[in-house]
Symmetry: C2
Subunit: 341 residues, 2 copies
DNA sequence: TTGAAAGCGCTAACAA
DNA sequence: TTGTTAGCGCTTTCAA
């Protein structure tokens, strides 16, 4: 068995509590004994047992990350490793560890959340999605358990800490960009309307259309399952219209990839026939053909800031709910062009 | 504070140890008291404190997942969420939790591993990469800490449990497929040669060339950083050759995406001018244009099996090292075509 | 079939 | 500045 605090104490000729204080780098221990104790720790290859520590202080120095349930291919979105990287970066600085849930469906996800919360495995949770009537969110509210949302809460907005982009404005700006280039018929392809992120982006899109006095018809708006043949259906529907769109706002780069494929299938080209804009600025959006005009939502920051908020919150239960809006930046690339040129 | 085992005991009118036995569903407790105790647990909303339990039994019911360090964009590969999903599926069945490392560089990753191992945060680790002279692997060997590798160990192969595909054979088969379609000049684009997966795929490629008595020149083999402008350099190099390749084996779908883009830039088409084959069968490989001929390595299984092996191993320290080869399947799609047709 | 009690390794009053 | 001691919540002998 590994060395314990007692072994170290004995070796250094001090009391266990002194060793404990050295670990915490307490200012009330003389430099001299600190040195002696540290030496003993080195020699014994001592490392504190985190479980024992957690038990004593009733915390866990760990945060949980809840992904959307992964039944469909949604998890194959590089968005997730990237937020995780941001979360991990901050967590690591403060020596926090990361738990992740990877539930197959809503039920198993909920079980994992319960396990984390009730078993005191984590001090707080980050939800990587936000949707209407989420049982997880409700559970956490009821338990009064610290959590932050990446995205915008569907309700209780003022009581929940969340980190988001201004998706409304970004989407508006994309649509505006297309309109400025002469496009009159714009379409929107998004994921599930249950997700608040879809709602925000759609609303922004609509608002741009309205402000520019263009006709606004629901025929130009499709919500597609991430999986469904990569947007083929969505594209078929849009381009069967009397006046097919010449510009599209798509809710996610990966989806856009499918859209590019689909429009080629029906004999059209991007950007010659259709201008495409989307969200996330995934690495792959630079290396597609054509490279995508897309909103860089700064996924890494989204993760980093959410970890920051959460850890602040777990350290101080009285910390007020806050909202952090991470700035976005539109990357103009060659998937868009003026309507006539 | 949440209810403890003592509260339950008092409420049910039994001793704490009895409650503990009920939790473990011990066969030596009468059905009657079990019922009484369970009722008390329900009423109090009792959940065992995992930290206390871990401390007592000296384990943690958690496994750690080590990603490659994430300085570059490699982590944006959907491969990772997908293995994680497989790992999580098995882990969840046995009520294990998942820790992940997301180190920025080798150093922070190593720190995270140390924290997990020395602090007893996890019972075992899964490494999601395998490369030459990996300090993490060496550390785990020295500590005699349970771990399994997804991929093939670069050394001590017979002493380490690992889960892999037959990458050699798969790669060979891809090359063979191209050769059968009349391609005489084949190129290989892979990631770092430090990774064993690259080595295996390259060797398989070479062997196919050799067996078919085609010329084998290192000029046709490029190793590119994942990041470097998405394979542009690799493509430029290959197509500056006297006899540019008409068929390519690329080590990863995401890379292939970059390659498709790059060859278009220099005025070529896939598959008309160049046939492309690659690995992983990521979701995106179905929705690119053209859809990719690629090896489905069954990422989910890779994860699932590795979790299985690891948990077996942690439960029984004497479990011998084993090797599991997950079958692959080549998906033939339209990124390949006969040389003349 | 159940209970009493010791102990897992650490922290944090309280004393000195 | 340091030591003593009593837990944190659970499991697990040993006894009954």
């Amino acid at each position: 068995m590994a060395a314990t605090i007692k072994d170290v104490a004995k070796k250094a000729g001090v009391a266990p509590s002194t060793v404990s204080r050295v670990i915490a780098d307490s200012s009330r221990i003389s430099l001299n004994t600190k040195k002696r104790v540290r030496k003993a720790m080195k020699e014994l290859g001592y490392h504190p047992n985190i479980n024992a520590r957690n038990l004593a202080v009733r915390s866990s120095q760990a945060i949980g990350v809840i992904m959307p349930s992964s039944a469909d291919k949604a998890l194959q979105n590089p968005f997730f490793p990237e937020v995780l990287r941001g979360i991990g970066a901050f967590a690591h600085e403060l020596e926090y560890s990361l738990y992740v849930s990877t539930g197959e469906n809503d039920e198993t996800t909920f079980e994992e959340v319960q396990r984390m919360v009730n078993g005191h495995r984590v001090d707080g949770l980050i939800l990587l999605y936000s949707r209407n009537n989420d049982p997880v969110q409700q559970f956490l509210m009821e338990e009064n358990f610290p959590f932050v949302i990446v995205g915008k809460p569907s309700k209780d907005e003022s009581e929940i800490t969340y980190v988001d982009n201004n998706n409304f404005k970004a989407s508006q700006e994309l649509a505006k960009h297309l309109i400025d280039m002469g496009h009159q018929h714009l379409g929107f392809i998004g994921g599930s309307l249950e997700l608040t992120v879809t709602q925000e982006r759609l609303n922004g899109f609509r608002s741009a259309i309205r402000e520019n006095n263009l006709p606004l018809s629901d025929d130009y708006i499709v919500h597609t399952e991430f999986l469904k043949s990569g947007g083929t259906e969505a594209v078929e529907k849009l381009f069967a219209l009397d006046h097919p769109p010449t510009g599209l706002v798509v809710s996610d780069d990966l989806m856009t990839l499918g859209v590019i494929h689909a429009i080629k299938e029906i004999g059209l080209q991007c950007p010659e026939d259709v201008s495409l804009t989307s969200f996330n600025n995934l690495y792959l959006s630079e290396i597609t053909h054509p490279p995508l005009t897309t909103v860089d939502i700064n996924i890494y920051q989204l993760g980093f800031q959410s970890a920051r908020c959460l850890i602040e919150q777990t350290k101080n239960k009285e910390e007020p709910a806050k909202r952090i809006i991470v700035p976005y930046e539109i990357k103009y690339r060659s998937s868009t062009k003026p309507l006539y040129s």
